[in-house]
């Protein structure tokens, strides 16, 4: 952050930060659409707290703080968190939010106990092990051909490609299982498997982002851009594209605002990830202000149909 304290825009640094932000934002928004529609918006936040025991166990097994085992441990627990939540909801008839709350707080507590137990042997600070900062993106690069590309950008590009292939490739199936899982099952689609695949992608996206750009960015991008797009359209296809656009725009504007706006009040630059989250909020409240206007423009019926849906 001190690198940017001057407030000047340096492409070599700011360019990569914005690219990392866009990659994370669009990956999260793509799968986030289905979380919002399935009323599981807070899963990203739940996973961000729940991965702790995965980190602890990965560390206890391998004895190192290398990022690959940590990543695998966290991703496994992330998926576990999603499936346990779903099991509690389906079999235990526990309210969605509550089942998520029970699962992630318990996992977090378990992780904390494990870490305290392991702490005799080595310092394993949950704050430092997993959470990266987007400002550090340009510092850790990998040589690829003639270019030095930040590792974070490579990781997040992979995640984006995965999510894009999944959402575009299974678009019809996703639409059917999201809006009518019963019909999907009758028609022979395995809605349960598709849902599991979605959960795996959510967990991978979340963990990859925690590790590279910090948790607040991905948690916001899972929820706010899709919720914004939902206010403006009733078509799932348009919702997916709109939300990706909002996410990318929030990433660009967020970084610009983080280094520019504080300067107006005599401060140095502030947290980029936080400002990107604030930008998504600005879009949402803007859309909320515009949505009634849109309704008056003769689209009333479709909106009312959507409103009356459960």
């Amino acid at each position: 952050m001190t690198l940017l304290a001057s407030g000047d825009w340096l492409w070599a640094l700011d360019g990569w930060i914005v690219v990392a932000g866009i990659l994370c934002a669009v990956s999260a928004a793509l799968v986030g659409n289905f979380l919002v529609l399935r009323r599981e918006s807070l899963l990203g936040d739940a996973i961000s707290h729940a991965v702790l025991p995965g980190l602890a166990v990965a560390f206890l097994i391998t004895g190192s703080r290398h990022s690959l085992p940590m990543f695998v441990g966290a991703a496994v627990v992330g998926v576990l968190c999603a499936s346990l939540t779903q099991w509690l909801r389906d079999s235990g008839k526990v309210d969605e939010g509550a089942s998520m709350g029970v699962v992630f707080t318990t996992l977090f507590a378990l992780g904390l106990v494990l870490i305290v137990k392991a702490a005799d042997r080595v310092d394993l600070d949950p704050g430092c092990v997993l959470y990266g900062a987007i400002e550090l993106t340009p510092l850790d690069t990998v040589r690829l051909g003639a270019f030095d590309i930040p590792r974070v950008v490579l990781v997040l590009s992979t995640v984006l490609v995965l999510n894009l292939v999944f959402v575009v490739g299974f678009f019809k199936e996703l639409r059917l299982t999201t809006f009518d899982p019963g019909l999907a099952d009758t028609l022979g689609f395995r809605s349960r498997w598709l849902h599991h695949a979605l959960m795996v992608l959510v967990a991978v996206t979340a963990v990859a982002s925690f590790e590279s750009v910090g948790n607040i960015l991905v948690v916001a991008m899972f929820i706010v851009p899709p919720a914004t797009a939902r206010l403006l359209t009733d078509s799932l296809g348009r919702m997916v594209w709109l939300s990706s656009g909002f996410a990318a725009a929030a990433a660009v504007l967020g970084h610009w605002a983080a280094i520019t706006v504080p300067g107006w009040f005599g401060f140095g630059s502030t947290t980029t990830a936080g400002m990107m989250a604030v930008m998504t909020g600005c879009f949402f409240f803007l859309a909320m202000g515009l949505a009634p206007w849109r309704r008056r423009m003769g689209r009333r019926t479709s909106d009312q149909v959507a409103d009356s849906a459960p």
Partner: protein
Amino acid sequence: MTHISLAVPEIGSSLLAAMGRLGLGDHNTRVVVFASVLLGLASGGVGVFTLLRRRALIGDALSHAMLPGIGVAFLIGSTFGDFGKNLLLLLTGALASGLLGVFTILGIRRWSRTQEDAALGIVLSVFFGLGLVLLGLVQQIGGGHAAGLESFIYGKTASITIRDAFWIAAISVPALALVLVLMKEWSLVCFDEVQARVGGLPIGMVDVVMMGAVVAVLVVGLQAVGVILMIALLVIPAAAARFWTQRVSTMVLISALIGGLSGMVGSLVSAVAEDWPSGATIVLVAASIFGFSLFAGTRRGLFARYRERQSARRQAIGEVNA
């Protein structure tokens, strides 16, 4: 400690006596256990209504929503003197910011078609992002003095002080009283909002009071025991109590008892065994009770529902044979 004993004399003195017998005469331990029990009772009681109103994760959303308030309070405190880290000021900032979060959630629900969970998520992430932005600025003027401001919200483990305990008592007891007084209105809003509206109940007002109580309990709990424990104490006891009963009053009683019991057992275990942090231990005790209730709960537990299905099946077979 005297204030608290005055507030609930019987519970206080009998608890102290019990702990004396356990060999836990240590003053600090008593304070920690006492505060954990009160916090568990209050959040267990309030948590029932957040669960029934389908806002179980409101604690998660609002605890994150408090961060900007803390940043602003610190800014104000350090501008007008050297009391940026004054606890009361920070608590007030957190409270104000949390209440703003409540109004924002209610506003999003009212003026857009956004679902409850997304409304919670929007407030959670946008407010928290704003908080990080403010802390980024605060650190520039506060320097080293502002360090550790985040830990106010993430809390510490096993370090409830006498001052924390006083605040916990000062908020938990009125919150419990509020639950008892407003139980009827809150239940009506949770189960039949239309009926409540027809009956002339000011829904918005009832909602604000209910969530205000959640915010108050959260604020005192957060800085004493940390964010995850507070979310857990609001959700787990209520969700566990749901397996045992269909009546709101019974559910409140069971949930508060589970919360209080988890607080007591968890903090006692952590007092005896040093490598069990109290916050995490309390959550794990509550989670064990939840797990037991999930299987054994007499109303909606897995076993009860299995038996129900079996008896329905036997009855059906009997009818076919007859």
